[in-house]
């Protein structure tokens, strides 16, 4: 798997997904709001990001290898929990959004 940075243009033959990460997780994935990743499934996508940003996967995946329950991942606006979970396949041009819950607030939580 190749993690593509925006500066690298490998032409139209590569299978790429656009990843959007919401605020609380952004700093664990290099700080970018939006970037491109080449991956075959959602699980692969997380591994690819982890390879460049160690520690990211642990924020998203728990000890049992499951998606943490305060985080949702959407492929083209559809929740992967209703699709194939982390095994949800990706295709060229898919948009993957990683959205954790936020609460605002004063630090009570």
């Amino acid at each position: 798997m190749t993690y593509l940075t925006p500066e690298i243009d490998l032409g139209g033959e590569q299978m790429t997904c656009k990843v959007r990460i919401s605020s609380p997780l952004r700093r664990f994935a290099g700080g970018a709001r939006e970037f491109q990743v080449e991956a075959a499934t959602v699980g692969d996508l997380i591994r690819v990001i982890e390879a460049d940003h160690p520690g990211f996967a642990a924020k998203v995946i728990d000890d049992q290898g499951q998606l943490r329950r305060f985080i949702n991942i959407y492929v083209n606006q559809e929740d992967i929990r209703f699709a194939g979970g982390l095994a949800t396949p990706l295709k060229d041009g898919d948009e993957v959004s990683i959205i954790p819950a936020i609460a605002g607030g004063s630090g009570g939580h």
Binding site: P100, G105, H109
Partner: protein, 290 residues
Amino acid sequence: MAEKGAIEERGDLNPERIRRYSRHMLLPEIGVGGQRKIAKGKVLVVGAGGLGSPAAFYLAAAGVGRLGLIDGDLVDLSNLGRQILHSTPDIGRPKVESAAEKLRRLNPDVEVVVHEGRLAPSNALDLFSRYDIIVDATDSFAARYLINDACVLTGRPFVHGSVLRFDGQASTFVPGSGPCYRCLYPEPPAPGTVPSCQEAGVLGPVPGIIGTIQALEVLKLLAGAGRTLAGRLLLFDGLALRFDEVNLGRDPGCAVCGDHPTIKGLIDYDAFCGLAPDGGPDARNPRPLS
């Protein structure tokens, strides 16, 4: 100046009300009928801070019949960058008092009801049953799960809003029709996992935008206009100035609204969110157990 009467009387559009709400009634999607429905509506805004300020402000401006407020906090200087219902002279006052004063001044036609104390498992069911729609303008995961469960158990629709830094989320949850908040987020993050605004910051207009969207959703629900956010999660990125949305589905296994619910009464939400009985590390704002 119109006299305050029973909530049913607010549906009577006297000349003053016709003038005040003229811009609403010109809208085909609202009209006289929609404004009457708004005038008979009973809405509880939980939280009179960053989200609750714009939400309550616009709901009062729109002439919601009964507007309830509940928030146990006092106005603090650190609030005034975004909590636009409050002003410098209000520092140290209970937020609900400060808010009620401004809302009544804006629109004396609205019955503003101040509820003392905090929303808690001991009062939520009774309180929610007195209103038609709930606005979640709170600032903790514990409060959000409490509101969700109480709304599911009382069958009340609620409009959710949340913000952090430059980001916001909003949705409308209608029990019995689509997902609830637990379907979206079955469990909260462990304490310390997701920062609060106090820790990470928030830019004033961001809750302004999300709270205003919450008011808009309430008015649409009351008037029966347009398409609400039910079944969708609105995502706002204030830095890129971009709105996105994702689709939400009801989880048949949801603990409170699923086919075989395991939550049939309100629970200890501080414990559920992993907090100590005093509400966590912020000892200045204890959140009591029921």
